[in-house]
């Protein structure tokens, strides 16, 4: 058995269903060995998207996503995808080929120090120096990626190690990492303090973040909110923890969130942050919330607690485990008046200014789209104005909302949707992007056609990099620089070239019918939606 066979075998042991990758000489032994295991191999069109697909796959399957690239440029192309996964704590394992270990450090063809280059974007990385270490390293890598605060792990395997004979393949049943023991169970004393704080609170608010999804604790957290009738707001990454129309749900916080969600945070006397970082986009002045408010911060990563704001009650552990425990206790909480007040704020919220009628109103369109989507549909938003509109107007039922939050990586939606499709081929999946972000990953249309991973794609076409244009309008008095997307292809012809059915919507007239046709047709399909070039987020 060769090292490469061992690598493929390890993936089988980890129950990996699919790898997203791109070959090159330095990773050829591995891809050759992959012929002997029944794991699907998806050939992407650029490596960055292999990492995004692994990310989309991981977020929907709850398993570790796997991407593979060759040495040098293959590996460096992965970096943006790895950094994106790191910023949102998505568990992926990245396997890279490397030049012959005897030549490492001598700048040979396609050599790049990838473990060094990704150091600040991975939870951990390995450079395999001995073929016998392969089973242990793979076992550890999957364990590290999928426990504690999730995140990417990279394994760099020189070609001579892949080609070396491994004397004995034993996949370790247990991981023995004496330096890595993440906290799972919440501290009982701290849990009791949380219960006590709830009992004493008149205006409690729960703020959910991406950690709730990562811990698969949606059910437990919803139960917790409903048990006491505590209102809930969400960060960008926490969207779809609560159904949008849940009577206790009051929208997204932050500078692109709902004003009543921010008001709820500001006026509460008890904030329960769950799996959220208190990050700059969500809470612009963390110091302010501490004045009259008790802050409970629940997170699996102790380093996040106190990083941006010092909590009164820190609680470290896995969110699912913690809420299974918390839900066993009983607290007195009567905050019906408070919910009433928040409903008042919600009713008074200013309406968005309508764009010109000759274009599609993105807000109305997205609301209409989400009403027509299946109950458990997966909505993948890209980055830019389209993302902000999606956050603001997509009505989540019981599906998922995916986007690149921490890194804000344009081009994320299509590959992430393809990865989600690989995880759950039966589910309805829609990627919504702008004409800028679409062109950052449109090469993956071929990947989805080739591998039978079709998704529905909606392009918001406004001919601009809209969010930057909006910024330049405000900050640079409308002096637009490098934001005009003239020269974009005819998306209809492009669709035809890839053999993908195409729909186009110029204004809201007949929108319902076009959307029905688009959603009911067999996957894949692409829809171009014309947006007022001067339309703004708020």
């Amino acid at each position: 058995m060769l090292g490469a066979d061992a690598m493929a075998r390890c993936l089988k042991e980890e129950n990996v269903g699919v790898v997203f990758g791109y070959p090159g000489v330095a990773i050829c032994p591995f891809f050759n060995s992959m012929l002997s295991v029944d794991i699907e191999r998806v050939l992407v069109r650029t490596e960055q998207n292999a990492a995004h697909m692994a990310s989309g796959y991981a977020r929907i399957s709850g398993k570790v996503g796997v991407c593979v690239a060759t040495s040098g440029p293959g590996a460096t192309n992965l970096i943006t995808g790895i950094a994106t996964a790191y910023a949102d704590s998505i568990p992926i394992v990245c396997i890279t080929g490397q030049v012959d270990s005897g030549q490492l450090g001598s700048d040979v063809f396609q050599e790049a120090d990838i473990t060094g280059a990704v150091e600040s974007f991975v939870k951990y990385s390995y450079l395999v120096k001995n073929v016998e270490d392969i089973p242990r390293i793979f076992r550890e890598a999957f364990h590290i990626a999928s426990t504690g605060r999730r995140g990417p792990v990279l394994i760099d395997v020189p070609i001579d190690i892949q080609n070396a004979v491994i004397s004995r393949f034993v996949y370790p049943a247990e991981v023995n990492l004496r330096t890595y023991k993440p906290t799972v169970k919440g501290h009982t004393e701290q849990i009791k303090k949380v219960i006590k704080a709830i009992t004493g609170s008149k205006r409690p608010i729960i703020c959910v973040g991406g950690g709730v999804h990562l811990s698969d604790a949606t059910y437990e957290v919803r139960n917790f909110a409903h048990k006491y009738g505590i209102p809930v707001v969400s960060t960008l990454m926490g969207l779809s923890v609560m159904p949008t129309n849940d009577p206790l749900y009051f929208g997204m916080v932050g500078n692109n969130g709902k004003p009543y969600a921010n008001k709820a945070m500001n006026e509460s006397d008890l904030i329960i942050m769950i799996g959220a970082r208190v990050a700059d986009r969500a809470i612009s002045q963390p110091d302010l919330i501490m004045d009259n408010t008790v802050l409970v911060h629940i997170d699996v990563d102790p380093a996040e607690i106190g990083k941006n704001v010092g909590p009164h009650i820190p609680l470290v552990g896995d969110i699912k485990a913690i809420f299974e425990e918390i839900n066993k206790y009983d607290a007195e909480c009567n905050c019906a008046d408070w919910v009433e007040t928040l409903n008042g704020y919600k009713a008074d919220a200013p309406q968005r200014k309508k764009p010109r009628a000759e274009y599609v109103d993105p807000a109305v369109f997205i609301t209409m789209l989400s009403e027509k989507l299946n109950d458990d549909a997966i909505y993948v938003a890209d980055v830019g104005q389209n993302q902000m509109w999606s956050c603001g107007y997509h009505i989540v039922k019981n599906g998922r909302f995916l986007t690149s939050g921490g890194m804000g990586t344009m081009g994320y939606s299509i590959p992430a949707a393809i990865g989600a499709r690989a995880a759950e081929p039966q589910r309805q999946i829609v990627a919504v992007c702008g004409d800028g972000s679409f062109q950052m990953s449109m090469m993956e249309l071929a990947t989805m056609q080739q591998h039978g991973l079709p998704v529905k794609i909606i392009i918001f076409h406004n001919g601009y990099l809209g969010l930057v244009r909006e910024y330049q309008y405000h900050v640079y008095k409308g002096h637009y620089s490098v934001v005009d997307l003239s020269g974009s292809p005819d998306f209809g012809k492009l669709s035809e070239a890839y053999g993908i059915p195409f729909y186009k919507l110029k204004n809201m007239e007949g929108a319902s019918k076009v959307l029905d046709d688009f959603l009911s047709c067999k996957d894949p399909a692409l829809m171009e939606v014309m947006i007022d070039p001067m339309d703004v987020v708020k």
Partner: protein
């Protein structure tokens, strides 16, 4: 700004030092000195880091470093319950007339003369940072040619809370 001394016990993996120093540089933490060496068990390395920053930064340093996979333990070495030592080598210009007075200053500090040349000598001194600073201060009137300092190494007093490095 305050200073803290941290003691780390880390897995002796390749790249562990660059993982730790990289964390300091990318998060903008100040590192005043770092020393590393193997322990009685070659699988572990003991690192002493002197870092500076405000209270919040120092707390983040402890948490972020503690989070690294290779780090088994990080703890603060508090001045009143720990001992710190640093070693310094000083090459100083020493002519015939100066030599004797340099030797007497060194004697007071129990520093050792470890090399003597025609017009220079090398002095070795081990001690706390304040002792070393005081010694350097006394050498102010002489021409110091080169200095090499190790940065401090430290241990907590007593046997309480010792993390074993048994295999």
């Amino acid at each position: 700004m305050q200073k803290k001394v941290f003691q780390l016990l880390v897995d002796n993996t390749s790249g562990v030092l660059s993982r730790i120093s990289g964390l300091f540089s990318r998060r903008g933490y100040n590192i005043e000195s770092i020393t590393a060496g193997t322990t009685s068990n070659p699988e572990y390395t003991r690192i002493t880091i002197v870092a500076s920053g405000d209270e919040a930064i120092l707390e983040q340093i402890e948490k972020q470093v503690g989070k690294l996979i290779d780090v088994r333990e990080i703890r603060e070495l508090k001045p009143d319950s720990s001992v710190y030592r640093e070693l310094i080598l000083i090459k100083v210009r020493a002519t015939d007339v100066q030599r004797q007075s340099i030797v007497s200053v060194s004697d007071i500090f129990r520093a050792k003369i470890i090399d003597v040349d025609i017009d220079s000598m090398i002095i070795e001194l081990t001690g706390s940072q304040s002792k070393i600073d005081a010694f350097l201060n006394l050498l102010h009137d002489y021409e110091i040619l080169e200095i090499a300092r190790t940065g401090i190494a430290g241990l907590r007093r007593g046997s309480e809370g010792v993390i074993g490095t048994d295999r």
